[in-house]
Point group: C2
Chain length 298, copies 2
């Protein structure tokens, strides 16, 4: 499918792409730019035959596809180097979790001769690092490709084909819709999980009790989500303005919830609690989770 | 261990106790009081040889142990009937999730001739009903027994032994500590999950987008918790005053979080996000969850 692919940043996502490319034989040659020596020795175990490079240099002049899978805060530096190195008409994509910020950056800084079509594969975990990567990470998972005006259709189709080959269900969306939707389905849940763990830690100090040892009743699941990579999530929280809207709506709902409890409003509380089941049924129906009950992972 | 046990309310928890009693042969005779006909036909499949009763009547006069596993809002009616029926010196326990309210109720309404020592097995799921019960539900899970002044030590030891026999790790605690601890490790997480799903549902209406289909990035996990039984959770939210304190602390932390994001305070945000990992490590260390990364349940 490709002669040469360059993966920049080879952690959980980058190394899963590397494994999937190897598995599906999607490229004759793969370059990997990864700064961490520890990671490099882990990536070597994949036996992908990739060539490690230390800097963006003329060796990668004629790659067909560049996949940036670093934290978003590194994009700006990377663009400068790609501008000076890539052949005209090259294709770049990324896997970042927010898109309006990246479009702004791209429009400001990327050479007009190069194409950058943004991707966001909806896959991941609370762990980081190439040792957790998996060739099937993207299998049957959504991959959002960002639709813009004046996009090169040939490149767009190529990118679609690439994600489909490694198992994703591709959906096209504009950056505004993307950032709105994922502020609610992903960014707010992570922020809330981080905030709940902070609240439990604070309570432990106030109560002077080792309460975390009794986490099996619910806190446990939030702690998993709140163990996600802090650099990646800092970049997301700083770059999606919709999160503030999400926090405000959440806070408004929480205040109402509190009043319902304080007023012992039976009817309103029951309707609130049972309404959640509708969302749950939809999530299972849409295969975003399995119906199997969870009694704790053992 | 017992001659006769009565289980009142035989859903997920009650039927798991029934299965465990049968499995460990802890009682010669088991009575089950369950109102739902549907549930009764499901309980029959357990083949526990239990005797179903329709009301609390003189047949259960001399049971050694009564286990109440109904929603807490039914306790008051049940106590009246037990007062009129049980032999002096009988032992009652329950499995409710809040304790100060139950102690008040017990002190007000229970006949002084009868012992009620409160239990709270920390086990469960988002599903309800006897079909989901499991004889190993309590295995290696905490069971809190509430310590009070003037408790009959012989009965207390008997109850401890009972929970240990069915696999629980027993811990003694006073009701105040219990309600404080579980307001943070269980009740607040559930309330927050319900509130997050409500916020996602509201956002879906505002955005007019089918955003729930993209739930795999985090919302999914909250939706599971927020699918829990609404009657049980209504009773919990109405009966633990500490939840309001929890909501207030959560809201205060959320406001600070919002400001940190709005001010793009890099250092504070990174320290907040990485601090969560400490709680996560502790939770795994204390065997409240496994370390295995979660990429979504499939």
């Amino acid at each position: 499918m490709f002669k040469k692919i360059l993966i920049i940043g080879c952690g959980l996502i980058g190394s899963s792409i590397l494994r999937a490319i190897k598995n599906k034989k999607l490229s004759k040659k793969i370059f990997v730019l990864e700064k961490s020596k520890k990671n490099i020795s882990k990536i070597k175990k994949i036996k992908s035959n990739c060539k490690f490079i230390k800097t963006i240099n003329k060796e990668i002049y004629d790659v067909d596809l560049v996949i940036i899978s670093t934290p978003m805060s590194e994009y700006e530096k990377i663009i400068q180097k790609l501008n000076n190195t890539l052949k005209p008409n090259a294709l770049i994509t990324d896997v970042g979790s927010t898109k309006q910020n990246t479009i702004k950056l791209k429009n400001k800084s990327l050479s007009k001769k190069i194409h950058w079509i943004l991707s966001h594969p909806i896959a991941g975990s609370e762990v980081s690092g190439p040792e957790y990567g998996n060739k099937n990470l993207f299998l049957n998972k959504w991959c959002v490709i960002i639709k813009e005006k004046k996009q090169n259709l040939k490149k767009l189709n190529l990118l679609k084909k690439f994600w489909k080959k490694i198992g994703s269900k591709v959906v096209l969306m504009n950056a505004n819709d993307h950032d709105n939707i994922f502020s609610i389905t992903s960014h707010l849940p992570h922020l809330i999980a981080y905030n709940l763990i902070k609240t439990a830690q604070d309570s432990e100090k106030v109560q002077r009790k080792n309460l975390i040892q009794y986490s099996a009743g619910g806190l446990r699941d939030f702690s998993r989500i709140a163990a996600s990579n802090e650099v990646m999530w800092r970049d997301i929280f700083f770059s999606n303005d919709n999160i503030i809207k999400g926090i405000n709506l959440f806070t408004k709902n929480l205040n109402t919830f509190k009043k319902i409890i304080q007023n012992k409003n039976n009817k309103k509380l029951l309707s609130r609690l049972s309404n959640s089941k509708k969302a749950r049924r939809k999530i299972v129906q849409l295969k975003q989770d399995i119906a199997k009950p969870d009694f704790g992972r053992e």
